[in-house]
């Protein structure tokens, strides 16, 4: 590290190299820290977590009891022992609280004034953070499994919603309508949509994953159908009928784009995780081994960003497995939860991981690289005293 610092100082190396090397080193040292805690508010399992992208300071969590809690993650006290306190929460006594379990929450990507939440009670609610009131409610015919709003888009305010029906619906926040539906009779999905995700690179590209084992990439401006259906065997593209292409051999539970948007990771109930090239839909054949996945609804996993080789954190039963994205090697398994882990998010400013599970806890995984320096109060006070003022007599216990 000192070598990197001096190289940066003298201009031999780009400053980004030091940042990436140090981030990678910190991610490799992630573990549970007794000094960091998240206040426990939820009475049910935690289904979803989201950290706001602007400052990385506030975190939203949605639970299976319908409660949504907002935490402040910043450590403004001087001590190393810190509990992330809940700033406010939408509890069961709130008039607009969701009636059933909250499946997905997401901050508005451009500021923290607004967030969206979707739940099994067939609604998507848009909340104003400062007053904690619903600004808008979208109702659907089926239970909502997942929703996502594009993190980079400036041209549209569409929220993609995946429900139990085979149609992907797009809700427009500017106009309040939810009439745009992505469903082409033959090429659309056939079963429930378990996960949706916008590309972090292009404004209009959306990926959807469904229980019929298919993952489709759509351009929402094009009404005629999906762009690509991902095929795990990388079959010949000359096949006219894409209906037999499956991305996994079971339901596809989770989707995550890498932070540059060039690759897409998918997780399925066939206990596999696959990495796809998002521009041509090719399976890059990186093999992560068995990634246990028994979840009947979506699994939310996350990718690190800012490290030299990106890591993916996947909930694996009651642990979290960490793999390198491009080589498929398993780095470690983070053990700490008592029950199944449902979701995890990565805070890229401090390289911390927060995970929520069915045991109603949110755990914070913090990089621990150095032993804490013990308090050396005695040595400092001793050295401050001039030897002339020190007492010359020793304690009388031994002599007497």
């Amino acid at each position: 590290m000192l070598g990197f610092l001096s190289a940066r100082q003298t201009g031999l190396e780009d400053p980004l190299r030091l940042r990436r090397a140090e981030s990678t080193r910190r991610v490799l040292g992630l573990e549970l820290n007794k000094d960091r805690d998240v206040e426990r508010i939820h009475g049910g399992g935690i289904n979803t977590l989201d950290i706001e992208p602007v400052e990385g300071r506030y975190m939203l969590s949605g639970g299976s009891d319908g409660v949504i809690v907002l935490y402040d993650l910043e450590n403004s006290s001087r001590q190393s022992y810190y509990t992330c306190k809940a700033v406010c929460s939408i509890g069961r006594d709130h008039p607009d609280v969701h009636r059933y379990s909250v499946e997905t929450v997401q901050w508005y990507p451009h500021d923290t004034g607004m967030f969206t939440s979707s739940s099994f009670d067939k609604t998507l609610k848009v909340w104003d953070t400062n007053t904690l009131q619903t600004a808008d409610v979208f109702n659907f015919e089926e239970t909502v499994y997942s929703h996502h709003m594009s993190p980079v888009s400036t041209k549209h305010c569409l929220v993609a919603v995946g429900t139990r029906g085979p149609k992907v619906q797009l809700c427009d926040l500017k106009s309040g309508s939810c009439s745009h539906i992505l469903q082409v009779v033959f090429a659309g999905h056939r079963q429930e949509i378990l996960a949706v995700s916008w590309s972090p690179r292009y404004d209009y590209i959306l990926a959807t994953a469904s229980a019929d084992s298919r993952v489709k990439l759509w351009d929402v401006r094009r009404a005629s159908g999906c762009l690509i259906t991902l095929d795990q065997h990388n079959g010949k593209k000359s096949q006219a009928v894409e209906s037999a292409n499956t991305a996994h051999n079971g339901k596809v539970n989770g989707l995550c784009f890498t932070s540059d948007g060039l690759h897409l990771l998918t997780v399925g109930t066939d206990n596999r995780m696959r990495l796809w090239n998002s521009s041509n839909g090719e399976n890059t054949l990186v093999n992560y081994g068995k990634v246990c996945n028994n979840s009947k609804k979506g699994l939310k996993f996350t990718v690190s960003c800012g490290c030299s080789s990106e890591f993916v954190f996947v909930p694996y039963g009651s642990t979290i497995a960490v793999y390198t994205v491009y080589s498929g090697e398993q780095i470690t398994m983070l053990k700490g939860h008592y029950k199944t882990v449902d979701c995890c998010v990565f805070q890229s400013n401090f390289q911390e991981l927060y995970s929520g599970s069915r045991d109603c806890n949110i755990l914070a995984w913090v990089p621990s690289l150095y032993e804490p320096v013990p308090d050396d109060d005695e040595t400092t006070t001793k050295s401050q005293l001039n030897p002339a003022f020190e007492d010359a007599w020793s304690s009388s216990d031994e002599e007497g």
Partner: protein, 211 residues
């Protein structure tokens, strides 16, 4: 390849290796996958879907496959269709599966010829209008394989603490059900991650995973 007991099937089947066995032999799975993909593209091997588990792929050398299939359908009424298939489709298309219009338009097969191929066991139905490549007569192999896999797994399961040293497992007498050989199955179990492989001071230990 040497582990495959040829005598058992009286030379009617080409030696089949499973992808999970390759994973157990090569330490890095991604590299193994990529190399298999290269060999498949060069036409040296064919990958075949074994019916019992969607993830289990069998790997066969193309030459072996060709000779066995020809021998199996010698003198049968569908020999002509099979030979045409082997000659035209196999070198051209290295995939595991074939689609309806691909067969009729690109390769010029009629529906009756496709039925002949299914009867011969070269194609297996996957979906309406698409087929997997298959090995004729592989039913017996799959039956022995599934039974043998279950038998070896139960040997580990019945052990105290559900774990066995690899050397001890291989030293035991194989139960009658295991016709393909203990080492064949052990490689497959390790590669498919159905047992955890832990290295100890007395050698490799096989332990059943917790779930």
């Amino acid at each position: 390849m040497q582990l495959f007991p040829r005598g058992l099937f009286e030379d009617a089947l080409p030696p089949i290796v499973l992808r999970s066995q390759v994973y157990s032999l090569v330490p890095d799975r991604t590299v193994a996958d990529r190399q298999l993909k290269e060999l498949q593209e060069q036409g040296e091997i064919r990958i075949v879907q074994l019916g019992f588990d969607l993830d289990a792929h069998g790997i066969i050398f193309t030459e072996d496959y060709r000779t066995r299939v020809l021998k199996a359908c010698d003198g049968r009424p569908y020999a002509g269709a099979v030979q045409k298939f082997l000659a035209s489709v196999l070198p051209a298309c290295g995939d595991l599966s074939f689609q309806q219009d691909q067969m009729t338009q690109t390769f010029g097969f009629r529906d009756s010829e496709i039925t002949h191929l299914v009867n011969a066991g070269v194609l297996t139905v996957r979906d309406a209008g698409s087929w997997w490549l298959a090995v004729p007569g592989a039913g017996r192999f799959i039956k022995y394989f599934v039974k043998g896999r279950q038998a070896v797994l139960s040997m580990v399961r019945k052990a105290k603490y559900r774990e066995l040293l690899l050397s001890e497992l291989l030293g035991r007498r194989a139960p009658v059900v295991v016709r393909l050989g203990l080492t064949y199955h052990v490689h497959d179990l390790i590669g498919a991650q159905l047992v955890d492989c832990i290295s100890t001071t007395s050698g490799t230990l096989l332990r059943l995973p917790e779930t």
